[in-house]
């Protein structure tokens, strides 16, 4: 055979220039009571999905995903799709949390938007996480600040509070600007405990369910949470200056 040298000067798009989408990762629940099942897929011939369970970035040296996993340990699980023709995907992350301490009552001093009031006043303490779809009724959406007091049956030692929120700027849904925690030993008088400012988004199209952990480390009867929505949509966004949305799915008290 004479060297049939292949010509590589095509003007057409080349496959290594295009990324795979993230694998679809589904969990029977993101809150672990005893155990949950987690599956990952990208329905395409020749796809391999690699994963880690220690929060590190997956690579082709990580564990190859072959079948749904039964998981009983909370943690950060990461998945990445690979294919010999296409560029590897970005990393899909799923955070599994231990079931928290049940709240007795939750008293709201602010109202969610009527269209996104979730499954009622207990949506944020019902032990159910939401999917990434903002229409999921596990989401509670606010176009204002979100303030509520959670009361426990007994005085309880609370180590941390995990607040789940949605990041989806293309649907005008932004992370909160600030979270402030007040605690009460008697359920009536509250003292300020912690205030956290989140760094504002500077760009982004991806939709992600995020969790932020607040440290409590106190024995309390009640906790007041004030979540401040960003005042207005930042200037880089198509909705600049207009009201942003704040979506939360769960508060977990550990």
């Amino acid at each position: 055979m004479l060297g049939c040298k292949q010509e590589h000067s095509s003007a057409m798009l080349q496959s290594q220039d295009v990324r795979l989408v993230k694998p679809r990762v589904l969990a029977t629940s993101k809150i672990i009571d005893t155990s949950v099942f987690v599956s990952a897929e990208l329905r395409m011939d020749g796809i391999e999905i690699y994963m880690t369970s220690d929060g590190t970035e997956p690579s082709i040296n990580s564990k190859l995903y072959t079948q749904p996993l039964q998981i009983s340990e909370p943690g950060i699980y990461k998945f990445k799709a690979y294919h010999r023709e296409w560029q590897e995907s970005e990393t899909e992350t799923i955070t599994l949390l231990r079931k928290g301490i049940s709240a007795d009552t939750i008293i709201w001093s602010s109202k969610p938007h009527v269209k996104y009031s979730g499954k009622g006043i207990n949506t944020l303490v019902n032990n159910n996480k939401a999917s990434v779809n903002y229409m999921d009724p596990e989401w509670v959406g606010f176009d204002s600040n979100a303030n509520a007091i959670t009361v426990f049956k007994e005085k309880t030692f609370i180590k941390t509070l995990d607040i789940g929120y949605l990041n989806n700027p293309s649907a005008w849904i932004f992370p909160p600007e600030q979270i402030e925690i007040f605690i009460s030993e008697n359920g009536l008088d509250f003292v300020a405990l912690e205030k956290l400012n989140l760094s504002p988004l500077t760009s982004g199209k991806d939709q992600r369910v995020e969790t932020i952990q607040m440290t409590i480390n106190k024995t309390v009867k009640a906790i007041k949470v004030e979540v401040k929505n960003v005042k207005e949509i930042p200037s880089w966004h198509e909705g600049a200056g207009k009201t942003a949305w704040l979506f939360m799915d769960e508060w977990i008290f550990n």
């Binding site: 057409m12 496959s15 220039d17 295009v18 990324r19 989408v21 990434v132 939709q207």
Partner: protein
């Protein structure tokens, strides 16, 4: 020339399409291989450079729709009022532009009338349908159908699409408004109204596109997309509901009948990690999905189509397709960083 190359590169780099030099992978790449997308009988190579223009001279906002005229030219409608209509030849060379009055220019349909080409444009901001000659002279404008009693004001009428019968009758889909389909004769006189917002068989959520299906000349019907519901609905020409064709996961824009097949731009996947999750979808003569360029392979189990979703980050928000006589596809995209159409070459 240098500037043009730079613009192309930066436009590609910002949306998941990376230039190869930025990357090295240990995964044993098959390098320098032309992308081939799609499934079964309908597979395509991708030309990202087709139709790219200097955005300072001929800018685009959303590229909403594309048609091919009788001369074989590719006619595109954008909502950029510097040049609402951009006309290319099939190689992507700019031929002419016109139009500065269509801030909500959305639907574009070709009418052939006694050997001459005309266009029907829907404008959801003007709340009107406008008929023009192929070079932009206005023939008539139609306002909202007040006489039907289905509209409280013109603002409720946000038409997204039209389709034309051989006798000149045409239909308008009010996909961003009250979701009615209105039927007019060739002079623009109202004959019928049906549909409306709702989840019943004969109603729509986001009646985004409409198209005459004359593949069987003895039994023509209307194809209407209920985009939010991921369903293509079939109606008789007198507005009676016939049947539904579900396309799970696919937010289909207007149907485009070409030869024996129906082509769709899919704005986005219903469930996806990234919002810019569009792809294309092609149905065969039996209205079965045979190919989804940019998405998962269509498969039927007991007659039910599996959920489709974007698999590679090539398209952002495809909004319309135009198929030429060689079966090549031109893809217009909404909200995709002011990018020009993409051409797909049938392999």
């Amino acid at each position: 020339m240098k500037r043009r190359q730079f613009l192309e590169k930066s436009a590609l780099a910002s949306f998941g399409i990376l230039s190869s030099s930025m990357y090295t992978s240990a995964f044993g790449f098959e390098r320098n291989k032309d992308v081939i997308i799609g499934h079964n009988s309908h597979r395509y190579k991708v030309d990202m450079n087709w139709g790219n223009l200097n955005p300072l001279q001929v800018p685009v906002k959303d590229c909403h729709e594309i048609v091919q005229d009788s001369k074989g030219r590719i006619v595109m409608l954008t909502n950029h009022i510097k040049n609402n209509v951009i006309i290319y030849d099939k190689s992507g060379k700019l031929l002419e532009t016109w139009g500065t009055d269509f801030p909500g220019g959305h639907g574009l349909t070709l009418i052939k009338e006694n050997g001459d080409d005309f266009l029907l444009i829907t404008d959801y901001e003007r709340h009107q349908i406008i008929k023009t000659t192929i070079d932009g002279t206005v023939v008539f404008e139609i306002d909202y159908p007040a006489e039907t009693g289905k509209y409280g004001s013109k603002e409720e009428f946000k038409p997204t699409e039209t389709t034309v019968l051989e006798n000149g009758d045409f239909y308008v889909a009010d996909g961003y408004g009250n979701q009615y389909i209105t039927h007019y004769n060739h002079k623009g006189e109202l004959l019928n109204i049906f549909g409306g917002r709702g989840t019943e068989d004969a109603q729509f959520l986001n009646a985004h596109g409409i198209c005459l299906d004359n593949r069987n000349p003895f039994d023509p019907c209307l194809l209407i997309s209920a985009r939010e519901q991921n369903i293509l609905k079939r109606f008789s020409l007198d507005g009676k509901y016939l049947s539904s064709i579900p396309v799970p996961g696919a937010l289909i824009c207007r149907p485009v009948v070409h030869k024996k097949d129906i082509y769709f731009a899919v704005l986005k996947s219903k469930e996806a990690a990234n919002a810019d999750s569009g792809f294309l979808l092609i149905m065969d003569e039996n209205n079965k999905v045979v190919s989804c360029p940019g998405a998962t392979s269509p498969e039927y189990a007991q007659g039910t189509l599996n959920e489709l979703y974007q698999s590679i980050r090539l398209f952002q928000y495809p909004h319309d397709v135009c198929v030429d006589e060689d079966d090549n596809i031109y893809v217009a995209q909404w909200n995709s960083g002011n990018t020009y159409p993409i051409k797909l070459l049938r392999t």
